[in-house]
Symmetry: C2
Subunit: 475 residues, 2 copies
């Protein structure tokens, strides 16, 4: 073996000085195809270690083996920006010793910079690496494109281990993370399942309600006055978000509007808008599909950015500070426009902020788009079960029954009233939903043990989540 | 004005909280065409500030106005990796209150990381910037290519000011330094004189002695056994260094050797070798000519690296650690192979380590190439006036009268003796020179005040330089 290459994950753990109670970090660019977290944690368990904290930018359903490691005491702490429903349900049932620390995509690098979070050993899933630890996500059988969330891990962790299934000769010229930060390189047969890493394609919704709301959101952006040359935009990879981007594209092409950038997680829809001249630049913290991976590999105007550059409130500035409009989802919105993306209608953990509250805080126009009812549960409630994003950073809520504008945005209200859009109050939306669904029974879990803290991007705790069993497994 | 743009350098200084005794930093990619240091220091003087320390990666002759600022007490400290002869002569005469701290290109970012150096306000000469402070050196009327030395300033300084003559719309996608690090942006008419920033072309020497030594150095590399597929190489921009690269190119093309990388300061000669397949990759901390600037702009295999990535001993690894052969210059070499690149034969400051001792420490083969006499002064001396690079990191000295191999490299001596090269001892070289020039009178300045400390890359002080007047101005 040459350079920093060591024989196994176990060797890397030993060389990095692994001990009980340490914090190991992971990033989620391999998404639901990630093998690295499970491989590392399996080696950690075999070494008989206890009380390990995992700081991962996100936990997906593929990380379900984590539940066993929590139960047997290998893992006693979890810090993440997003926690998928499968592991989330177990966390809600109270299996973890310490409360989960939920951060935002910008708050995570900010807390590392502040020193309020610390990583002992970072593991970086590296689709391509050389023997000295120069790393890229753009090439190799497990290519995922951007490695944006891993930059802070590389910079702030005491020790950094790259795990790759594609070792190339030194030097890897097109590196994203430099050898200066990387201590060990481990080669594995596969670091991920390509089928789970990125979608082949991300698809626009065919649901007529989703399409209706997408058109409404695009019209609202136009009515806001922000849709002019230099316009910047962000949205997610969900079907309705993609539909909103597509609706926006139609308007931008028709009106010959040349935007400046689209940011965040990048999809083929945004790549297409870039190619058609809607956006000069794509600023990419994470690729959602193969079209985005291909684009970031070959197009200099499609640029990888770190999570700190994307959204950190500790940075001199971040991309979200320059953002015009963002379209975001919600499981619940309350009368103060607070948004919940952490827990479902039963109070069980099934998500997390990701960049939700970062972009809402930064963007001139933060739009929630969500159907007014899901499975006969109303979107609008008196008080969200979990505050993920504070209402004072949300500008409007788009539902199929109309758009509610946050009262603190009287200027926006005036602009939208001049459009053909149906503008209502948040209270009216709540009434409409309750007429259809009835008023849901309030969740009663105020006495339960705290299983998670929601840390806002500035480091403050804006909410807690309490113990709650899945209804089907309640005693 | 928008974003972080402020009206003037004076405004930026005030906003950054400038006070007496602070340390301001500068980088030298605009080389002898740099306007930024003088513009900033002129504003500093107008504000009436005193006891400022300048930490610059290098000081060139264009910075001569600095002498007046030292004399009037505006500046009392100077830290740099290289100090040109014009300002150097004044420093040698004792005008500066504190000793100059000389570092290496790798030691400078290392000392910032260690905390043994601190920058209050960094000024980054930015050939292109956007209003939020994303910066590139690749574009604009003052394009200089790589900004490698400025990365550490941006990362470690308390406040960072970008000074640009080419403001572009946000976001500058192909940024080198991100907005996350930059606090203020100042627009100036011109940040540099294009004629002084990079040479139009760097030219191979026509001096027959230089060409002879170049061929000898290339033959010696071949004889060392390192010149095989994967070979990596560094050399400077001087005429003899370029000639050595050209001689190496001829051998590599003839023998179909595919090298891996060339590193450090990049010239058109190295770009041509890359294009002809001699090196897969160029790792560029600084562009020396227009051919290099054009190449780094368009060629993904020509990659900008930070000074830390280039050479920091505090990094998990740096490029110099993977280097096979480096060709370096010298003003003096002594019988222990110690090299002086700081002072001239009169003991006056006229240079500095730059990457000299970093590459010598890292490379498998560190070659000094220098004529045995200059202006009737012998190259080889009993003891160098200033130790810039320790002899135990130097492997051989190439002169027109033969090659001396460091006795600690018996393996190399055996290999070279099998070649047609004239291998001699360092003592024989000294005798030959003294036969021709006579033995020079020893400099006697041991009682003078210390005007500079030479800090090795690990932070230790390996030598000091004492007060000495230019002979023509001696009292």
């Amino acid at each position: 073996m040459q350079g920093k290459v060591v024989n196994s994950i176990t060797d890397a753990l030993r060389l990095a000085g692994i001990r009980d109670s340490m914090t190991l970090s992971f990033h989620h660019h391999l998404r639901n195809g990630d093998y690295v977290l499970n491989l590392v944690m399996s080696a950690v368990r075999e070494l008989g270690l206890k009380d390990i904290t995992i700081n991962a930018s996100a936990i997906f359903d593929c990380h379900l083996p984590l539940v066993e490691l929590i139960k047997d005491g290998t893992v006693s702490g979890l810090e993440c920006n997003y926690l998928g429903a499968l592991v989330g349900k177990s966390i809600s049932s109270g299996i973890l010793k310490k409360p989960v620390i939920f951060r935002t995509h910008g708050g995570r690098p900010a807390d590392l910079e502040r020193g309020s979070a610390h990583i002992d050993i970072a593991f970086i899933a590296a689709p391509t690496a050389d023997s000295q630890g120069n790393i890229s996500g753009k090439y190799g059988p497990s290519a995922c494109g951007s490695l944006g969330y891993a930059f802070a891990d590389a910079r702030y962790a005491d020790k950094v281990v790259a795990v790759t299934d594609n070792l190339v000769p030194y030097p890897l010229a097109d590196f994203s993370i430099a050898e200066t930060e990387v201590d060990y390189v481990v080669i594995q047969d596969r670091i991920g399942d390509p089928g789970g890493i990125v979608s082949g394609t991300t698809r626009i919704t065919r649901d007529p309600i989703g399409l209706l709301m997408a058109d409404m959101a695009a019209e609202a952006i136009k009515a806001s006055g922000l849709l002019r040359d230099g316009f910047s935009f962000q949205t997610g990879a969900g079907g309705a978000s993609l539909a909103a981007a597509f609706a926006l594209e139609k308007i931008m092409l028709k009106e010959c509007i040349q935007g400046s950038f689209a940011s965040g997680g990048i999809t083929s829809q945004l790549v297409n808008m870039h190619k058609r001249g809607c956006f000069e630049t794509l600023l990419d913290v994470q690729c959602f599909d193969l079209g985005a991976v291909e684009s970031i590999r070959v197009n200099p105007q499609h640029k990888e950015i770190s999570a700190g550059h994307y959204a950190s409130p500790e940075a001199a500035s971040a991309v979200v500070d320059s953002l015009d409009a963002v379209i975001l989802g919600a499981t619940e919105v309350d009368l103060s426009f607070n948004v919940n993306v952490h827990t479902n209608s039963q109070g069980l953990i099934m998500g997390g902020s990701g960049g939700h509250s970062d972009t809402a805080a930064g963007a001139k126009l933060a739009i929630i788009i969500a159907p007014l009812m899901r499975a006969r549960m109303p979107l609008i409630v008196d008080r969200v079960h979990t505050v993920s994003t504070p209402g004072d950073t949300i500008d409007m809520v788009v539902t199929q029954y109309g758009i509610a504008v946050n009262p603190r945005r009287a200027d926006l209200f005036d602009l939208l009233r001049q459009s053909r859009l149906n503008i209502v109050t948040i209270e009216e939306l709540k009434e409409t939903a309750e007429k259809i669904c009835g008023k849901p029974k309030a969740l009663n879990d105020e006495d339960g043990r705290i299983v998670a803290e929601v840390h806002y991007r500035d480091g403050s705790i804006i909410d807690t989540i309490r113990h709650r069993n899945h209804p089907h497994t309640d005693n």
